[in-house]
């Protein structure tokens, strides 16, 4: 009897293994699986590759702005905290997107396994976390110096931060990053400053009279929305041809 079974060549074997691995790999269905996958190979150094100066400048500007807010905003403390709390997130994105586009590296990054969209999603979590962390001492210091209610200020800043982040993601999902990050600060500034300029006493009274517990729901809703949209953003197909 002839048992001469044709065996695959080394090349065929490798190709088959590659196909199996490919099929078995779970798709990046959410931002957390992406985070897990990336944390194995990426590290903080790569996450902030080329944008360390942007992060440094953002932190510096945030520090200056918050100092000014806390020191001067006795009459409009709640409004000022609400308006200023997304500043770190806002400035970080504006500077990072501007620098990445200027670097001209996006065409190289866009053909890699992990694209700029993937990296941006992880950076969003980072900048979001940094913003939350900054908001806590700011609310505490403002509470002490300006006799404000710590929990109210904290909830106001979380609410504003998640709202800003949600609005940014909505824009990023539908248009180019450079448009989204440049337009939103203008929109945010107008929405917050116009009512303040018109009648700051009424704005401040409204925010001051809001019971703290009534802010918990919007914070939760915006936070959930943020993660839902972030998951959608991770799967966004972006064209990097003109970058």
């Amino acid at each position: 009897m002839n048992y001469d079974i044709p065996m695959p060549t080394a090349e065929e074997k490798n190709a088959a293994v590659k196909v199996i691995l490919c099929e078995a790999m779970p798709p990046k269905e959410n931002v957390f699986s992406l985070l897990r996958e990336l944390s194995g190979v990426f590290g903080l150094r790569n996450l902030f590759f080329g944008i360390g100066d942007c992060v440094y400048l953002t932190v510096l500007l945030t520090f200056l702005l918050y100092t000014a807010v806390v020191a001067m905003a006795k009459q409009v403390l709640c409004s000022a905290v609400f308006t200023a709390s997304p500043f770190l997130y806002l400035a970080a994105w504006l500077l990072v997107v501007w620098k990445e586009e200027k670097s001209g590296m996006l065409t190289l990054q866009g053909v890699c396994k992990y694209t700029p969209v993937h990296v941006s999603a992880i950076r969003m979590l980072c900048f979001g976390g940094m913003s939350l962390l900054v908001d806590i001492p700011v609310a505490a210091i403002a509470g002490v110096l300006q006799a404000g209610d710590f929990w109210k200020l904290l909830m106001l800043s979380f609410c504003a931060l998640f709202l800003y982040a949600v609005l940014l993601l909505c824009l990023l999902l539908h248009c180019k990053a450079r448009f989204a990050v440049s337009v939103l600060p203008v929109v945010w500034g107008s929405l917050c400053l116009l009512p303040l300029l018109k009648d700051y006493v009424q704005c401040e009274t409204f925010l001051r009279n809001l019971p703290t517990y009534s802010l918990v729901l919007p914070v939760i809703v915006f936070a959930v929305l943020y993660f839902v949209l972030l998951n959608r953003y991770v799967r966004k197909e972006e064209e990097y041809a003109d970058c």
Binding site: E11, G50, S103, L108, Q109, V111, K113, A241
Partner: protein, 283 residues
Amino acid sequence: MLTVKNVTKKYGSFTALEDVNIEFGIGVHALLAPNGAGKTTLMKMLTTLMKPNAGEILYNDENIFLLDDKYRDVLGYLPQSFGFYKGHTVRQFLLYLAALKGLGKKQANEKIDELLANVGLSDAASLRMKKLSGGMLQRVGIAQALLNDPQVLILDEPTAGLDPKERVRFRNMLSELGKTKTVILSTHIVSDVESIASRVILIKNHKLLCNETVQQLCSQLNGKVFERTAAVALHDGEVFLSERQDANGLVNRFVSHSVPADASPVNAGLEDVFLYVYGEEIQ
């Protein structure tokens, strides 16, 4: 196998590529066409940087845009020009791209050493990117395209800026890679691909003109290319290709469909085909 199926790409109302069909198998495929023909446009679509307006691009019968990161995982690309952060060293730049390609740090460092040696830049690993010359930068670009051992390697004018020694080194490297991988490169420098391309693709008037071997292309002009002293003007029906200087003065090279009595026949090369096909466009 990478298959381009009925692909059309428009920029606004301008059609850059129309109904293009190409199959890229293992081997070196050279896109040979003059400026503005649509080489970069085609490559940007092959690398998922840009979507076609019509048609599809398949890798092993699956749409590359649906394969997404699985396709990019087997892809290497050298753009016609690329940016970088000036203050980083060559190694830092390559390590970052290696991480984006999913390589661990140890594996990446080993691969970077190997690739820098292959492109003759072992001594430049710790140089800052802003200090590199044009040719060195191009070689770093070639190295980054090979970081993930790609099955599909797409190179947009890879030899631009390389000196003759580096061109030869690069040609040998491509020829080796072409034995097991799909290599697609664009160029207008005929000598870069004449000896190594398994297929030559010509694009004219935004459409695919032909996709053949060098021999097949040259055979179309065999027996039709002649040389004659430039002192004699070209006769009717003769198509000028190029001129060169020899010991007796200037010599014209031209295509003629009948055999002229006063000219000597020469073997047709790929450059003759290129000049014949794109003659009017180039002039």
